[in-house]
Symmetry: C2
DNA sequence: TTGTACGCGTTATCAC
DNA sequence: GTGATAACGCGTACAA
């Protein structure tokens, strides 16, 4: 036993491995991490054995400083407790896993200033890429965010926008307008004539698109939008908005479209708590098809958005050298009619 | 214009800032990152100005290699799309934010081997800490996991276990047994006599504790457990288990306890889809109080577990130098009776 | 108080 | 193929 290994404190370093195996640092590095493999089999084996016995794990920070870029990709979301985020994140993590990347999550809490701060801080991580979900695209902070993103891209990071984005940058998403339009048309087709929309404040693109699309499809089908209620997009926002609506009188037979399922579920709960019967008395529809939409009884009519797949694609867009937006097949959107909007004929 | 700044490619380094400000590297380091502040005001200002104009952001990887530890904490969960994870993660992220840490998320998919691999890979990140949620504590991989954790702790990382843990290590959690016992007692108290439990396979500690606790409370209150059904803990597992139960005949008036809300919601949906009426015909109860429990109509009876707070505490346990498990006030658990288990008197 | 110089663990560019 | 050695960007004794 030479006992030259196993430093008392801290992890084994590449140096330790090299010494243990009796080779140079460079050789050890090549067999353990390097890409182009040109090491004699005998050496390779010895190095691998040494690494194993020492329990060596590459220090990613050091690798990152040396390489100039780290093997992490950052995911920026509005609310980590939002179920649709969960779907999305699952896809991102799956892709990251395949690519040997780790994912760090930051949350903006829908605060534009905070968003800017976070992107700035993230730059310090030198992540390989940045996936931005659901950020506003207007307002005073938009320019500052743009600048931060620019800086990030300037140092070699890939920025990927979710939920449609500007063509100048990589962006993956689906066409919210078209999906919502199909939903509106479908619902008008099965007999609904009078609808109220509950959505986010103006300027949140996803919400705006869905409102526009739904309006288009529904009115063309012969229905009319009585009102568009704007506010938050959380479950509680939906609940509160509906209480308001209720207090002002909500005629039987009305259809309420919430721009996302979470919101729509809040709507449905408020309705039920007020003694109304969703599906008979009042109809409710959402967008996304989050898992709990099936469970609220009656099931929530919605547009199925492949969030998991979206996350996966976003990651691929970050990773892939060449990436052609046009080459991507569009993410499929499907209207799913459930008990919350029974045919009204 | 001296034009000595703004390197064409890549971000500004501390070196650039120092030169721009006309001070040494050390001084720049001290004002921008160092802890003990002893820099003349005039220098400080110049450095800060230079950093601002250059858009300097510290390279965290480099800082990490230099310091030997990175400002990230890793969160290991079974399933990122699980709503209860969302609650937990929100708390962790909140705490991390306060401490200036970033959170990286890895998912085990409930695969023990994968879990071991991940911990090993994580070691490469040299995170300051590791928060482990919901891992099994038995099985053949447990020893290997233990060894990895040991190695991680050996290099200075804090390991925090969630959902109760061994006293030798830092662990935060609440008493699942006591909470479930209270629920069982309460339900027996309002008239239920016959219950079926749906839980995880044996060896998942959280599930086992809840099963034991519920059984204890329910039987002591005069009820009896007809059967314990073991399997997965996802929504779909609950759904499937219930279909099975249904096919074997499920008497009216039975109470079904799912060891977590997600599972219980699956149970409720299966019941509803089979034409049974939750709350009248069959009663359902869960554990956790995830947000959608309120929305499934009738609301799901459950035990409110402060998951967000749990995550926050876990992070504090990672960060704090001195941490005394005994000094922590126990996390409150509260039985919440909703429509899914109406009084049966 | 400020600056110099060395170390952190890896990668990459050279010669050999 | 393999091995010195110079970066990488930053923290931090140590000296000034």
């Amino acid at each position: 036993m030479s006992e030259t290994h196993a430093p008392a404190r801290g992890a084994a370093t590449l140096h330790d491995v090299a010494r243990e195996a009796g080779v140079s640092l460079a050789t050890a590095s090549r067999v353990l991490n390097g890409s182009t493999r040109k090491v004699a089999e005998s050496y390779r084996e010895r190095v691998e054995a040494a690494a194993e016995t020492l329990g060596y794990t590459a220090n990613l920070s050091a690798q990152a400083t040396a390489r100039g870029s780290s093997a992490v990709i950052a995911l920026l979301v509005a609310d980590i407790a939002d179920p649709s985020f969960g779907q999305l994140a699952a896809g991102v993590v799956r892709g990251a896993d395949e690519a040997g990347l780790t994912v760090t999550v930051a949350v903006t809490a829908r605060d534009p200033q905070r968003e800017v701060r976070i992107v700035r801080a993230l730059r310090g991580q030198r992540p390989r890429g940045l996936i931005l979900a659901a950020s506003r695209t207007d307002g005073p902070e938009a320019a500052r965010l743009e600048a931060e993103l620019e800086a990030f891209a300037g140092m070699g990071g890939q920025v990927v926008l979710l939920d449609r984005g500007d063509p100048a940058r990589r962006s993956v998403g689906f066409d919210n307008t078209v999906g919502a339009e199909a939903l509106g048309a479908e619902l008008a087709g099965i007999g609904y004539r009078d609808a109220v929309i509950v959505g986010a404040a103006e300027g949140v693109r996803t919400s705006d698109d869905r409102i526009d699309g739904f309006t288009e499809g529904f009115t063309r089908g012969g229905g009319s939008i009585r009102e568009v209620r704007r506010g938050g997009v959380s479950r509680d926002s939906g609940y509160e908005a509906t209480r308001q609506l209720l207090s002002e009188g909500l005629p039987s037979g009305t259809l309420v479209f919430g721009v996302n399922d979470l919101l729509a579920i809040g709507v449905a709960s408020a309705l039920r708590d007020a003694g109304r019967t969703v599906g008979a008395d009042i109809a409710v529809a959402g967008f996304d098809d989050i898992p709990n939409g099936r469970d609220i009884g009656p099931g929530l009519t919605t547009v199925r958005a492949p969030l998991d797949e979206l996350g996966y694609r976003a990651l691929r867009a970050v990773v892939e050298k060449e990436w052609d937006a046009a080459a991507e097949t569009p993410l499929p959107l499907e209207v799913i009619v459930r008990g919350s909007t029974p045919p009204r004929t």
